[in-house]
């Protein structure tokens, strides 16, 4: 029932996405564009070649990031972690920029450097958090480590971009996190990774639930805790990287969705996972609508909209955490 409601909300968001923009297109024309495409009709061309492509990218990236966030929050039992707050986004971004600068890579080949960057950033974050151990709240330390690593990698990114500003003009939007009209090309290359990751997340979901009860409990119940922990982490990073390669470092979908899912569906079972998947897609679709409508005719970057909303949510979470409430 709740999953159905979520799907309906997503469908409504998609319809809104196709309708609104620099020019509003009525629902009838959208339907016609899909069923009886007419290449001479301008509205049809806009719907099919500009909006549906964007929509597909938004739905994919949102879904993938939402699930990645849920996995991370579950295995770390920490409501402040997410692909962006752990520095994974920033690491993947800066390795992509490095690969573009030094090797001139492009398209699907960028997945590997992005993955390396994501893994490297994650490892560095854990190391930093360990260095910080012993002062303050250990969960905050992990996020603080992530923030440091994130800052480090984004300075590296800025540095590399500054070495060749003209060469990166096309990437500037991507660096903030943006859905462009041609992103569907890289989407088709990244989708297999994303979908494989999602299947992995579904399969692992029961194990992760057991792990969330505590390492020892899970071990008693016959779970190979190390394997599950590592596997979930890897899946989360692959999911994140498959989205980052397409749209750039869009933050906070993965931070916010698990909290919403927990409010609606509790902690265990597959329902929270589906909610994160559908909800993430909905959030990013709506953010893309806002990005195009908020200051029309100028188009904002989706990363900007998510930063505005997500920063506020992150602040609220940190403050709640500080009050001692469990999040």
């Amino acid at each position: 029932m709740r999953a159905l409601a979520a799907v309906l909300v997503l469908l409504a968001a998609c319809l809104l996405h196709l309708r609104l923009g620099a020019a509003e297109i009525p629902a009838r024309a959208i339907l016609q564009a899909i069923t009886a495409f007419d290449p001479t009709n301008y509205a049809h061309v806009v719907v099919v070649f500009q909006r549906i492509t964007r929509l597909a990218v938004a739905v994919f990236s949102g879904a993938v990031l939402g699930v990645a966030g849920l996995l991370l929050q579950k295995i770390m039992q920490n409501g402040l972690v997410s692909p962006s707050t752990l520095g994974i986004n920033a690491g993947a971004t800066s390795f992509v920029v490095l690969a573009v600068y030094f090797f001139g890579l492009g398209g699907a080949a960028l997945f590997l450097p992005a993955l390396a960057g994501g893994l490297g950033a994650m490892a560095l974050t854990f190391m930093t958090a360990r260095l910080l151990a012993g002062q303050g709240d250990p969960r905050m330390n992990l996020v603080l480590g992530g923030a440091m690593v994130g800052t480090l990698f984004s300075s590296v990114t800025a540095f590399v971009v500054a070495l060749d500003p003209d060469g990166f003009t096309n990437l500037l939007g991507w660096l903030i996190g943006d859905i462009g009209n041609f992103d569907y090309k890289s989407l088709s290359a990244m989708a297999p990774f994303g979908i494989a990751g999602l299947i992995g997340a579904v399969l692992l979901s029961r194990m992760v639930d057991l792990l969330a009860m505590g390492q020892e409990q899970a071990a008693v119940l016959g779970v190979d805790t190390r394997l599950v922990h590592g596997g979930a982490l890897l899946i989360a990073i692959v999911l994140t990287v498959s989205a980052v390669t397409v749209v750039g470092p869009i933050g906070f979908v993965g931070l916010v969705m698990p909290h919403v899912a927990r409010l609606v569906a509790g902690e265990v079972g597959l329902l929270p996972l589906w909610l994160c998947l559908i909800g993430g897609a909905t959030v990013l679709t709506l953010a893309d609508v806002l990005a195009r409508v908020l200051m029309a005719p100028q188009v904002l970057n989706v990363g900007t909209v998510m930063g505005l909303a997500g920063g506020a949510v992150f602040l609220a979470l940190v403050l709640t955490r500080a009050r001692g409430a469990q999040i």
Partner: protein, 346 residues
């Protein structure tokens, strides 16, 4: 080891390390400035550098005139900006009782940036003198917001996370302003919003010098009051210090030090963090000494970052803000690490 300076009824304890380190740092800074004046994209004779500093502008050869017109103000701005960011960072560290605080990390820089960008965007270019005031308003407002929200989270990383989340929101606002401007404005504001000394000229240097002369006496007179604060607010109050008032004054002073820097160079992060950390390593904890050491250290860091950014990848100029932040982010991690060590040993 501590020496005591007595002048009539006033006695000032000064550590031996300070007496040794301060003149050495100043000498190193002067030498660096001389070096920085001599290098750049156009080759100049060493004699020109001296001439540019000592002789009046009319009597200069073309090479020396180029130094006096372009490099001299840039070096002056670098030195003052570095020193002022260092002072601002140290004050924030004392006030927030967190060694990781810095105008960039606590969001003051971004607040000032947003204020300056908004005003420039709405009213067009305005005089650099007024820009300093605008940026002060932005910095003070953000400092108030961050420290107000985070006052219960001072120890550990809480306040830093509050600052970072405010940073994220303000960063998004900056991007929105960038997108709504023309593309020429975009390019100009984009470089500035990363922190650069490329646009520094004579009037900028003069404006910063005015702020510097105005704020230094306040800092020197007030820094003694910071010492009890290191023990915590309650202990400071028990010693008869109006802790709340000093805290507020400290935040205001920190914002005032950062404001003109941001108005001229844009947000340059991590200098406060790095220089205060180095200064504490040299002279220990006494606030007046730490801040007086931190200022030349910060000036040196920014001067070297700017000069290296100009020369290293020539003909490309990497702006000082970016140069500093790569090194700065690494030292952020180092500082956190030593923070843990000192806590473990105490």
């Amino acid at each position: 080891m501590t020496l005591t300076l007595r002048m009539g009824r006033i006695s000032l304890p000064i550590s031996l390390r300070f007496v040794i380190a301060a003149p050495l740092l100043l000498l190193a800074l002067i030498a660096s400035a001389y070096l920085a004046l001599g290098v750049g994209s156009s080759v100049t004779a060493p004699a020109d550098v001296l001439a540019a500093i000592l002789s009046p502008r009319e009597a200069l050869s073309p090479g020396a005139r180029a130094i006096a017109d372009f490099r001299l103000p840039r070096v002056q701005v670098a030195i003052m900006a570095g020193a002022m960011m260092a002072a601002s960072g140290y004050l924030l560290q004392v006030v927030s009782r967190n060694g990781l605080a810095d105008p960039g990390i606590l969001g003051l820089s971004d607040g000032a940036t947003v204020a300056v960008m908004l005003v420039t965007f709405l009213y067009g270019p305005i005089a650099v003198g007024q820009l300093g005031l605008v940026s002060l308003v932005g910095a003070v407002a953000t400092a108030g917001l961050v420290l107000g929200l985070g006052r219960r989270l001072l120890t550990g990383g809480g306040i830093i996370l509050v600052g970072l989340s405010i940073n994220i929101v303000l960063g998004a606002v900056v991007e929105m302003i960038l997108v709504s401007g023309t593309s020429a404005q975009f390019a100009q504001i984009m470089t500035w919003s990363r922190g650069t000394l490329g646009t520094a000229d004579g009037p900028d240097a003069a404006m910063m010098a005015r702020w510097f002369c105005l704020l230094m006496p306040v800092l020197l007179l007030g820094s003694r009051m910071l010492h009890p604060l290191l023990l915590g607010e309650e202990a400071a109050m028990a010693l008869g210090l109006p802790a709340r008032a000093v805290l507020v004054a400290g935040v205001l002073l920190a914002a005032a030090f950062a404001a003109p820097v941001i108005a001229v160079c844009g947000p340059i992060g991590f200098i406060g963090l790095m220089s205060a950390w180095i200064a504490r390593g040299i002279v220990g904890e006494r606030p007046t000494e730490v801040v007086l050491i931190a200022m030349p250290v910060g000036a040196g860091i920014l001067l070297w970052a700017d000069t290296l950014g100009r020369v290293l990848f020539s003909p490309i100029t990497v702006s000082a803000g970016i140069m500093v932040s790569v090194v700065g982010a690494l030292s952020f991690i180092l500082v956190a690490r030593t923070g843990r060590r000192s806590r473990a040993s105490s």
